[in-house]
Amino acid sequence: MSEMLGKLAYYMEFPFVRYALIVGVLIALCSSLFGATLVLKRFSFIGDGLAHVAFGAMAIAAVLNFTNEMVVILPITVVCAILLLRTGQNTIIKGDAAIAMISVGALAFGYLIMNLFSTSSNLTGDVCSTLFGSTSILTLTTKEVWLSVILSVVVVIFFIVYYNRIFSLTFDENFAKATGMKVELYNLLTAIVIAVIIVLAMNLVGSLLISALVIFPALSAMRIFRSFKSVILFSAGISVVCALVGMLISILAGTPVGSTIVAVDVAAFLICYFIGRARN
């Protein structure tokens, strides 16, 4: 035990480890906030879809030799989020099918582009780390840390200010619209914020595992709690705890960060599931 603590203390001396922990916790917090809404609106896979879009955008950015990849990734992902979450009657292809299409399409094209044009000597390694987020969380620059902190704060403030509207939109969009809420505007804002979260979260767990970060905390909370507010608060809490525990384990045991966090999330879900069962 003391040996483990010693090891931990040793790692904590490195600024990049501290950065990773801070950013990891913030990302976990942000991505859990919208989890309940996405799950309840049957958009669980939006995280996956957008993350794959972001992956495709990243491939384009890499090929075009952009120094700041965000400039390419963020706008493309935001546009796709808006298109996917548009719940109008006029959408030609309905929800889940559209997400599936864009998601696998972007993934295929991203890999294809990387394969055809990349100059990197370690292509498989590059792809693997964008898909599973193996090390990027540990290579954050101070600038990226600040960017993540600022974006996270914006997301949390947005969520708090719009909390009541988000509840109404999730519970009964028709009623909200009938009684004068600007439903389209709020859907648009939500889509943008979700895209920002996804792009942030790619650093932590990689494209393939983002959905887990978004939906597991919400699903866990929904096993136990029965009011919207308590579900949100609990999912935020459990998401932060799981991310922290996951990152610490991965530091100590040398396991990949993203998959360790997700494994802890899954474990937490199982515990919540059984608590929920026992209560009923």
Binding site: A36, L40, I160, V161, Y162, Y163, N164, R165, F167, S168, F171, D172, N174, F175, A176, K177, A178, T179, G180, M181, A221, M222, F225, R226, S227, F228, K229, S230, V231
Partner: protein, 236 residues
Amino acid sequence: MAQIICRDLTLGYDNEVILTGLDFRVDEGDYLCIVGENGSGKSTLMKTILGLTPPLSGSIEWGEGLSAHAIGYLPQQTLVQRDFPASVREIVLSGCQNRPGFRAFYKPEDRQKAERNMERMGIADLSKRCYRDLSGGQQQRVLLARALCSAEKVLLLDEPVTGLDPKITQEMYELIRSLNEEGITIIMISHDVDEAVRYASHILHIGKHVFFGPRDEYIRSDVGKYFLMQEGGGEE
């Protein structure tokens, strides 16, 4: 003063026309009952008035000073998933959100209003319960309480008494009437023509025959006589 004027309205979905050439108006303080057979387009009409379904043609004009911010609405069915975690209080409170202007949080008077409407509907003791654990009738009352929270000037109800027991049904009709006497305009879809005719000031009958006019005229009209006899005969 006219609050809602519908001119030459054609209702339907995509290219499927349900009803054409509908003309009627609702004045402040009216109690309009919409009656008609299943599938005649009553719910569609209400959704069109509310702007949830665009009309295929024709126009809906809202009176001066009236906007969606003063409207309460009880849908026929609210498709809420069975596992939705929301307490009764959260849902009723969400009816208070329609005031114009942006406010992030509820005010104390919103909470009082929610409290009062929960008492009116006899669900005050359920306020902490989860919506999905309630019976159908209880859920209906929660949604009614929410509609009452947002109804400042007009209340639109799509079959408000479905699933309520006789006692609550009577209380419901009384409540709606007292709201109407307080000056709130009521637009209600009902299958219970007898009750509709008893309380309403105007009747809009849609279907193969269309009728719009004051209640007394409806009772004397051929459509009304026929429908009242038929429906009245079918019920005890």
